[in-house]
Symmetry: C2
Subunit: 392 residues, 2 copies
């Protein structure tokens, strides 16, 4: 990692886990191996090992959280506004880790990886992976490969927030603090419905071919439509109105045809669809939306109260007032169940009309909340450690 004018260079590394015959037994009962994990790290692990922060990415994210892979990379990592020297997740202070989730398509093993049994991409022969499986693999990366045995914090938004909750449940002694942003203990019906529409768009692309296609030429059309639907749900009525209104796209009057877009919002959606298919695999989109739909802590543990029975992390739960995909009531459900288990929880509904995607944009109040929470957690833990040392 080399500083370059406030930016820094970083590389994605890969670690192989679960080499056969030591395959990972998945939640669905199938076994998966080998499993490659793409990850990035930023900053240095403190000698005391007490400054590690794990970031869990959302549906379309990857291990490349911040910085650039090369000086001429067009855009920095997906959370560069939040992660870096002097930023809320300050890489001068913290050792930051992020890995691509399994089932994804950005370096970790997923449906576009080669199936060792056939020598061809898995396609739909890839087993279904759940949030618990993803977290299990992250845990192996962090503890076995990186030698980190305490996480100061696990943090993530949206689908990443689901991973945060699973981490706090599965590894209570390891996760000291947890930041769960714009997420839910289970997707609501409407969100499942939007996911299903995205999947149906992919299924209905004849080039999808039941999931069997050349990995170098994934079928773009269905995935583009799925992404457009997604983008509407990530914004809000108000933010779309403010951003585009009914303004026309490079024209002074409507075209009365089906050619170039009439409205700016149409152009925006088309662009988002086209850009997404350059970097994402349709089968991964199917698997990850299914993992999101299946995530249901109340169902897995009998009740949400029971799910959080053993958690020991200090929680920060955040929602956004304009988020209708993961509405505030879902964060409040998490907070109530945590409180009922005596957990230490801070909750804030951050004011923003922007929609679900607020955590990916500049938002000072949000940045301050997260930066302060992290710093306070570290201070408290270090004070407790020092006091424990004195007593010994």
């Amino acid at each position: 990692m080399t500083g370059t004018q406030g930016r820094f260079l970083v590389e994605t590394k890969s670690w192989r886990f679960a080499e056969p015959p030591d395959e990972l037994e998945l939640r669905c009962g199938a076994r998966l191996g080998p499993i490659d994990v793409a990850y990035e790290t930023y900053g240095q692990l403190a000698p005391e090992g007490d400054n590690a922060v794990l970031i869990c990415h959302a549906l379309s994210g990857d291990a490349h959280v911040a910085g650039k892979h090369s000086p001429d990379e067009a855009k920095p990592g997906w959370w560069d506004i939040m992660v870096g020297p002097g930023k809320p997740i300050d890489t001068d202070q913290y050792f930051v880790i992020c890995s691509n989730i399994i089932g994804g398509c950005r370096g970790s093993t997923g449906p576009s990886s080669i199936n060792p049994d056939t020598g061809r991409p898995y396609g739909l022969d890839f087993p279904m992976v759940t949030v618990r499986d993803m977290v299990r693999v992250q845990h192996a990366l962090v503890s076995e490969h990186l030698g980190v045995h305490k996480l100061l914090c696990v943090i993530g938004g949206s689908f990443g927030g689901m991973q945060v909750l699973q981490w706090a449940i599965d590894y209570p002694d390891m996760v000291q603090a947890a930041v769960c942003i714009a997420s839910s203990a289970r997707l609501n019906t409407q969100a499942i419905a939007f996911d299903e529409v995205g999947r149906q768009a992919i299924y209905s692309d004849p080039d999808w071919n039941g999931g069997s296609y050349a990995t170098e030429h994934p079928p773009p059309r269905g995935l583009a439509v799925a992404r457009m639907v997604g983008h509407i749900t990530y914004l809000s009525d108000r933010s779309m109105h403010e951003k585009f209104g009914r303004r026309l796209q490079d024209r002074s009057s409507v075209g009365y045809d089906f050619g170039p877009p009439d409205f700016q919002v149409e152009s925006y959606l088309r662009h988002q669809g086209d850009a997404f298919v350059q970097r994402f695999d349709p089968n991964s989109y199917l698997y990850l939306t299914k993992a999101m739909d299946y995530f249901d802590l109340a169902s897995d543990y009998g009740s949400l109260l029971e799910a959080f029975r053993g958690v020991r992390s200090n929680f920060l739960v955040l929602s956004f007032s304009g988020d209708w995909l993961f509405p505030t009531y879902q964060s409040q459900e998490i907070v109530r169940a945590l409180h009922a288990n005596g957990a230490t929880v801070s909750f804030c509904e951050v004011e923003s009309g922007y929609g679900h995607d607020v955590f990916l944009i500049e938002h000072q109040a949000l940045h301050r909340l997260i930066g302060d929470f992290l710093a306070n957690c570290q201070d408290r833990i270090r004070r407790e450690e020092a006091s424990a040392r004195t007593e010994r």
Copy 2:
């Protein structure tokens, strides 16, 4: 029309308008003819001609409002709960008219009709039709063909409500009362975005073939996805939760596969998509969503205030509290602009968590509002007529 155990039989009729060379000049500048109009009527026109009610259908509706075409028709017309003997729009009292909008695919001329210049279906050679064009054709049907010169009321929900507004603007002396339900003087950005996603789903269906396909075998896949997106927007988070929750579809645990639907809501959406493609034409879906996107009274007339300058109808404007596709603020914009023009307007936000589609389901308060409004309008008009006759 024959009464059968509370139900009645009705037939769709057809009228040819704008026989060449008397083509209709459309808003977009193109000319269209011949134009066939499919319509149904219910009840009898009073000798005084003062009991005619025109119903304007929404995006996927048709002329078949109520009753059945044959005793064994599976379902009655789309607004059978509202229209019929003894119902709020009481066919014992009113002469009810509904026609399929041009651009549609349910009997009126649209992109699946034969282009007289080529002998083949128009496809994308069909000219763009706007709400104003649709209303112009309805007006010809009502006044030229049916001989109705006053409309006691024009009523419609959603896209039908846009037609109601256009009627009140274009034919102020003819429209005595207007009921505009869950509609808008212009679509908001988010609604345009959803329409565009639906269109992109259709474009991306390779069998769509640029709009050229055999009318008997319209490409189903893109249209099904478009309909699924639409259905989510017609319901609400709450209503989907109440209707389906996270309940599984004919199974006791999730399938961990991409086979049959896991959740009931997925099954519901698939069914809605499959059912829709049996009765709707993909090109019509493109044209009608474009007409909806283009509808913008403020843009057409300089401002909404100016648009309503000449209206003389007595208005009932209704919105639904749980409708996020045509939110209440859009109805309030209409109400404010009408008030500012001194129009007589009743406005009510009907309490319902159901979503946009409330007007298509049983809702007693809504039915009473509409029934009472119609009856009161007719009473008032008849009293005024009687008093005018006395004075003469």
